[in-house]
C-alpha cells in the first residue's frame, strides 16, 4: 500500500495542519499590524482548505472537496483582498492596540487552548470505532480552541476592522469543527453558511467605512453615545 493511501498517514497530515492552524491563531493574537493579521488569516484559511481536501480524499467524501474549494475562493482569495483594500481606503493607523498587552494575551490563548482540549475530550468515544470523531480528535480540540481564542480576540480589540478579523477566525474554528466532527454539513447548508459569511463581511466592511467617515475614528470604544 502506498503511503498516500494509508489512513494513518492522512490522520497525521490532518493533525499537523490543525496544529499549524492553532499556531497561526496565536500568531494572530500576538501580531501588531493589521495587514499582517489579514495575511495570517489567509494562511490559516489556506491550511483549512488543505485539511478539508485531506479529509475528503482519505474518507472518500467528495462533497467536502466542494467545501475546500469554497474556502479557498472566499477565505483565501476574496476576503483578504477585500479587507486589505478596505484598510487601504480608510487609511487607518496600522497598529492594532489591544486592550491586554501581547505577552498576557498569548498566555490567555494558551489557557483557552487547554480548555479546548478538555471540552473536546468529552466527545471522544474510542469504543464506538473509527468514526469521524476519532479521526478528528485533535482537530476538534483545535476547533474549540480557535472558537474560544476568537472570542477573546473580539473582546481584546478596539478597532472595527480587527473585530471583523476576529469574527472571521472564530468562524474558521466552526468550519474546522464541522469538517472534523461530521465530514462537513449537508451541501445546501454549507453553501448557505458561505453565502452568509460573504454578505456579513461585506456588510461589516461598509459599516466600517461609514463609521470612519462619520466619527472620524475606527475605535469602537468611542461608540458610546447610546446608553441606558
Amino acid at each position: 500500500m502506498y503511503f498516500y493511501q494509508d489512513p494513518q498517514f492522512g490522520e497525521r497530515m490532518i493533525t499537523l495542519m490543525a496544529a499549524l492552524v492553532l499556531v497561526l491563531q496565536i500568531a494572530m493574537v500576538a501580531q501588531r499590524w493589521i495587514v499582517t493579521n489579514i495575511r495570517v488569516f489567509a494562511a490559516q484559511s489556506f491550511l483549512l482548505a488543505g485539511i478539508a481536501n485531506t479529509i475528503a480524499y482519505f474518507n472518500h467524501a467528495p462533497h467536502i472537496y466542494f467545501a475546500a474549494v469554497m474556502t479557498f475562493l472566499i477565505k483565501v482569495v476574496f476576503l483578504p483582498i477585500f479587507m486589505e483594500r478596505l484598510v487601504e481606503k480608510i487609511e487607518i493607523r496600522q497598529e492594532i492596540e489591544p486592550l491586554v498587552n501581547v505577552p498576557l494575551s498569548v498566555l490567555i490563548s494558551g489557557g483557552l487552548t487547554m480548555v479546548g482540549y478538555v471540552v473536546a475530550e468529552s466527545f471522544y468515544h474510542p469504543e464506538s470505532g473509527p468514526g469521524a470523531a476519532t479521526l478528528g480528535h485533535n482537530t476538534l480540540a483545535v476547533a474549540v480552541s480557535l472558537f474560544l481564542i476568537g472570542f477573546f480576540m473580539m473582546l481584546n480589540r478596539r478597532k472595527a476592522v480587527t473585530q471583523v478579523l476576529a469574527l472571521l477566525s472564530l468562524e474558521n474554528g466552526l468550519f474546522l469543527a464541522a469538517i472534523s466532527l461530521t465530514y462537513g454539513m449537508p451541501l445546501v447548508v454549507e453553501l448557505g453558511v458561505f453565502f452568509d459569511l460573504l454578505v456579513a463581511t461585506m456588510v461589516l466592511g461598509i459599516l466600517v467605512y461609514r463609521i470612519r467617515e462619520t466619527i472620524d475614528s475606527m475605535d469602537v470604544s468611542k461608540l458610546r453615545r447610546l446608553r441606558g
Binding site: S122, A160, E171, T182, M185, G192, I211, E213, L223, R224
Partner: protein, 498 residues
Amino acid sequence: MLLLLLLLVPLAAAAGSFLARRREVMEAINLSSAVVTFTLSLLLARSTAASRYVAELGDLLYADSLSALVVLLVSFVYLACALYAIGYFRDDEKSQVFEQDVLGEVLIGKLRKYYALTPLFVFSMLLVALSNNLGIMWVAIEGTTLASVFLVTFYGRATSLEAAWKYVIIGGVGLSMALFGTILTYYSAHEVLGTETLAGLNWSVLVTKAPLFDRTTMRLAFILILLGYGTKAGIAPMHTWKPDVYSEAPVPVAAMLAAAVLNCALYGLLRFLILTSRCVGPEFGSNLLILFGLLSMGIAVPFILVQKSFRRILAYSSIDHGGIMVLGLGFGGPLGVLGMLLHMTFHSVTKPLMFFCAGNIQQHVGTDLFKKAKGGLIHAMPVSAALFLMTTLAVTGSPPFSLFQSEFTVLRAAFAAGHVWPAVLFVAFLVAIFAGFLVHVAKLVLGPDPGLPPADTCAWKKYTLLGLAGVVVVMGFWLPSPLYALIQGAAQIVMEVR
C-alpha cells in the same frame, strides 16, 4: 405551491421596488406584497389544520401548525408595518428629517432602500419558519440580521451607525454559537442517521430519531443554541443591542424587529428544545430557561423605571416580553407551552401599535425624550396619544387586554409545576414594570396643553392606528376559534415530546 409562493412573493416585491423609480409605485408594491403574503399565510394556517404538515420541494420546505403560527404572525406584522410606513415616510419627508443624513443620500434612494430591503427582511423571516433543514434555518436567521442592518442605518446618523455596529457584531457572535450548536446537533444525530446526505439536518427526520441521539453532545448543543438564538431574541444578558437598535431604526423596522424577529428567534429555540427534550428528557433546560427568563424581566425593571426615552422604553418592554415567553417554556407542561404561544401571538398583535403611536409622537414633537416632550400630548394629537396610553395598559398586561390572559396562563403554569419563587418574582417584576410604564406614559400623554399645533392629519397613519387598535381591543374579548385551534395545534407539536 403554497410554501414556495410565500417565499417568492416578498422576493418579487424586493426586486420590483429595487427597479421602481417612483415612490407611489414602491408603496403599492410593498403593500400588495404584504396583503398577498398575509392571505397566503391564512391559507397555510388552514391547510396545516387540515393535514398535519405540508412539505414541498423534496422536503426542503416544511410547515406544521407551529410554523404556520409564526408565518401568520410575521405576515400580520408585515401588513401592519406596510400600511403604517406609507404615512410615516411621507411625514418624515415633510419634516425634512432626511436632511440630517451625514452621508448625503438622496430621498428616493433612501425610500428605495427601505422598500427593497423590507421584503427581503420578511423573506428571510418566512424562510426561518418554513425551512425543514435546521442548517438552512440558521442561515435564514443570520439573513434577518443582514437584511435589516441597512434598515437600522436608514437615517444615517452617527448614532445609527453605532447601533448597527453593535447589532451585527453581537448578533454575529451570538449566531456563531448557534451554528456551533447546530453542528453539534448534527454530530449527535450523525451516528444514528449514518448519512452525509441532505436529510441529515432535516427536522422531519431528526424529530423521529431524537431519543437515540448522543446525550452529552445534545446537552452542550442546546446550551449553545440557547445562548445563540437567545442573543437574537434579545434575552438578557445578551440584550444590549436591543435598545440602541430599536431607538435608531425607523419605526416600521423597529416594530418588525420587536414583534416578528423575536418570534423567529424563539421559533428556532423551540425546534431545538423539542429535540433536546426528546433526547435527554424535559427537565433539562427548564431551569436554564427559567433563569434567563427571570433575568430578562429583572433587567428590564430598573431600565424602565428610570427611562428617559419613549423609544428605548419599548425595547426594554420587548426584553421583558421575550423573558416572559422563555419563562413559559421553562415552566413547561401544557399550560406553560400554551401560555408561551398565546403570549407570542398577543404580543405580535399589540406591540406594533405601541411602536406606531410612539413613532407618531416622535415625529410630531421632534424628540424621543420624555423630558423634552413636556406632556399634555392628548390635546395636540388625541388619537396617537390616547392609543399610546391604551396600548401601554395592554402591553403591561392589564385586563381586559389579551396579554393579561397569556401572562395569567404562564403564572398558572408556574404554580402547576411547583415553581413558587419564580412565580412570585414573575408577579413582582410585572407589577414594577406596569407601574414604571404607566407613570412615564401618563405624564407624557396627560396634563395641561403645552400649546403644540394639532397633528394626526395623515390619513394613512391615522386609520392604520385605529384599525390596529380595533384588533387589539377585540382580541381582548374574543379570540377567533380557528386561531385558537392553530395555537393549540402548535402547542401540541411542542408538547408531544415534553
